[in-house]
Amino acid sequence: MVGEQRIRAISDGILALSSADQTEVVVLANDSALTRFANSTIHQNVAETDCEVRIRVVLGQRIGVATTNNLEEVALAEALNKALAIARLQPENPDFQSLPGPLPIPEVRSFSEATAHCTPETRARGAGAICLLAREAGVVASGALTTGVLEIAVANSLGTFAYFATTQADVNTVIMSDDSAGYAEALALDVNHLDFEAVGREAIEKCQRSRGPRPLEPGEYPVILEPYAVQDFLQMMTYTGFSAVALQEGRSFMVGKIGQPIVDERISIWDDGLDPDGLPLPFDFEGVPKQRVDLIDKGVARGVVYDSYRAGKEEGRRSTGHALPAPNTFGPFPLNLFFAGGDASLDDMIRSTERGLYVTRFHYTRPVEPKQVIVTGMTRDGTFLIEKGEITYPVKNLRFTQGYLEALNHVERIGREPRLLSAMGGLACQRVPALQLSRFRFTGATEF
């Protein structure tokens, strides 16, 4: 770890040196390791130590950004000068108002010493536990186990200084036989809270039950989606509509719908960076404290997330604390999403299905039409036919092409045990339940 003291010294040094009207320093220090396994053995095992310094300078309404991971004084000064040169040589951005001023940062804790000091041997034993279970079961394990510390600091010339250190440990596995596969994953702050054997057993059981899949005609079926599949709803709705930039550009499914019902009244989705049921992060990459933002409340579209630049485009709007690192043309982004749970168990859902499909997970999903959030993708790692309240047999994977908003208007039941899952390659997390939907459109099939 670089530590708050040294990071403060780095940012103070840059701020003192800067001749800009406003200057921002974002420091992202990363100390992470990943143990990857396949064919029930460890085949990749890596570690990384990095510290990126991102300098944003403002001259009037002209902005320049430069980054470096060389922490020597000369290199930092050079990066500052690059940012200044960029700002001087570009036209003014009339939409830019100001960097955010200092705001009180809520206290949250999101750090585990065990994760921060996790050794290669501990990771190997975690991965090895899954590999050994798979070998015993006569199937093949692959997956990855990650542990890491991320330090985030934001300082600016208006007096902002915010520092936060967080840890994360996650494991995922795909278990395969000759003709089947199963999946499981787990995410925690503390590596000691990951139950590797439980993760392995869940995926192995799914793989064993998936053996001998039969072809099934594509068409419209009732579905039960495990949380791994439901997570894709959040990801696609985030990409297509939960950001102020999509709303302001008219691309979001929320355009003209704020205050109106858009999905089933039992659906609530919000972002909350302070909730300890997620992986808390108290401020964004401009140093603005995270606010809870209700995106959809009881089926009604309520709002989107903002950073200071996008908030500045609307009269009276303030940042909700969802900026990504500058220069961010992607727009503000919710990193801590929650999908409200219901009262049903997976067994309740299966028992109440006359004929339908049980889906573990989606693969390679892409939006086909963003305004209606129509998405295509494949099922993967365990798809089953349900008949008369029981899972009868596994089926070969199917392609779906389905409007997600439409699907969320056909909710039968919502799972009572939302799971915390990693998103965006570990940069975000989402807590999601299982869903039972009365119809879902499958438009193609594959050969396995």
Partner: protein, 490 residues
């Protein structure tokens, strides 16, 4: 730098490594984005560091750091050895790398105009001019244009005697118009010269001059708005002609990924998936029709998959992948080619095809595409359209999805045109097509000639854990496919 590389390699061997390599990488990038008349993003970025990869007790370890100093080289090397030792706790076999690699040399991307020598004023001026052209048509809600420049200097050395220095320079640019119909809540977009931001080439500023973004901008804006009023692509089974950029995506997804030998051997199973092109199919499986020839060629000037040596020190090569429709080659590494030889014996290539590439100093090399190409055929584009009685022309990718063995795919394009009686007809929107890879390529009955053939850059290919982004190239010319299911929108 040899002082650092020697230090790491010596220490690794002293600590028990039977193989070690080190890469020292410095990457500079510059990205400029203009949106609706405003420079929204302009950044200059630099990242440097080194990564040490070792084999200890038959297992891999890798550690990396941004801090290039002697004591950090020692710490990181020792950590790589410790990590390899941990890997060995659960290994089932020994890493075998085949013949030693000991090349020494240098490689530089040939560049006519260094993009870092072009002023920011000229760069932003060009984008602002293009932006104005995009917004010239009422109805364009978002005009976006961007430039990207990349320079990577890397030094590779291994314990077998290799010492290689390379400088790769890439230049990319593109424009995009998004039109919105607020009444119907509809969004359409058009891009040039490729979708998702840009096309990119291993060239200098001359690549941007050749794109001539400002002169194409008005047409792109007009087409985006015209799509709002276009008829939707009908649903059915028909003849499909794919334009060059969509075909580049088709080659990337349905040929490039399934020929990656790490996917074939299951080491990407937990993330990207595996492959239907299993070793018993090597040399005999009918992948496409007899006119389909594909290569993986890391030597093409301008291609994003071009280099002197891969990140294991293996020289750039041209590898046949599909010959007259028959699958005959993989993208490979030193380790995976040894595994393939265990299965196929002397039917397999004797040495790596040189496809190990790492996304910077902090990532290990994994098998990545180089330039995976559909070789040109014999048709002119005009003759191809004239020869098509009834069909649809689709171009420029809008959405893409394919299963985890790379068989079932569904792709959507920004634009499509009906073909009737050998002539291009009405504009169509929301075009999609779907199929199974071998059947699709098996239905290919015409490919345009070398005059229509161009290498396109894909600067955003994701793979691996932790995630890596590779820059790959794909040479294509328009081609025709029969009996394709089109118009799946859900």
């Amino acid at each position: 730098l040899k002082e650092f590389t020697d230090r790491a390699l010596n220490l690794a061997q002293v600590r028990g490594a039977t193989y070690a390599d080190i890469r020292i990488v410095r990457r500079q990038t510059q990205n400029i984005t203009v949106k609706n008349g405003v420079v929204e993003g302009l950044s200059d970025n630099e990242s440097q560091g080194f990564g040490v990869r070792v084999v200890v007790d038959g297992a891999w370890g890798f550690a990396s750091s941004a801090h290039l100093a002697p004591e950090e080289v020692d710490r990181v090397t020792a950590l790589a050895v410790q990590i390899a030792g941990a890997s060995a706790l659960f290994r089932t076999g020994h890493v075998r790398l085949g013949p030693a690699i000991s090349h020494v040399g240098t490689f530089r991307t040939p560049v006519q105009i260094d993009p870092w020598e072009v002023s920011l004023a000229e760069k932003t001026g060009l984008l602002l001019q293009a932006d104005e052209g995009l917004r010239a048509t009422p109805g364009v809600r978002v005009a976006s244009s961007s430039l990207a420049f990349w320079r990577e200097n890397k030094t590779f050395a291994n314990s077998e005697g290799a010492f290689l220095e390379q400088e790769i320079v890439e230049t990319g640019g593109g424009i995009e118009a998004t039109a919105v119909d607020p009444e119907r809540g509809e969004v359409q977009k058009r891009s040039y010269p490729n979708s998702f931001g840009r096309d990119q080439r291993q060239e200098g500023w001359e690549a941007i001059l050749a794109m001539d973004l400002p002169s194409h901008a008005p047409r792109i804006g007009e087409e985006a708005v015209a799509l709002l009023r276009a008829d939707p692509c009908p649903s059915g089974v028909t003849t499909l002609i794919l334009g060059p950029t969509q075909l580049a995506l088709q080659v990337h997804e349905s040929c490039g990924h399934p020929i990656e030998l790490d996917r074939v051997f299951g080491t990407e199973a937990s993330y990207a998936g595996t492959s239907f092109l299993t070793p018993e199919k090597y040399g005999s499986f009918r992948y496409g029709s007899e006119i389909v020839n594909m290569t993986a060629d890391a030597t093409i000037p301008g291609g994003l998959g071009t280099f002197g040596w891969d990140d294991e020190g293996v020289p750039a090569q041209r590898v046949p992948i599909v010959r007259e429709g028959v699958f005959c080659g993989y993208l490979s590494s030193r380790e995976t080619i040894e595994q393939l030889r265990e299965i196929l014996g002397d039917r397999a290539p004797q040495a790596s095809g040189g496809a190990m590439r790492a996304d910077g100093w902090n990532r290990i090399p994994i098998i990545r595409m180089t330039n995976v190409n559909l070789e040109p055929g014999t048709w002119t584009f005009d003759d191809l359209v004239a020869d098509t009685e009834d069909g649809i022309y689709m171009e420029m990718n809008k959405s893409w999805s394919i299963d985890d063995k790379r068989l079932n795919f569904q792709f959507g394009t920004e634009v499509a045109y009906e073909i009737k009686g050998g002539k291009m007809g009405r504009l169509l929107k929301n075009a999609t097509y779907t199929g199974l890879t071998p059947q699709f390529w098996g239905s290919c009955d015409a490919i345009c000639n070398a005059d229509h053939w161009q290498v396109w850059g894909t600067p955003n290919c994701g793979k691996g854990q932790p995630g890596q982004v590779a820059h790959t190239g794909h040479g294509t010319a328009p081609a025709r496919f029969r009996n394709v299911q089109v118009g799946v929108i859900g």
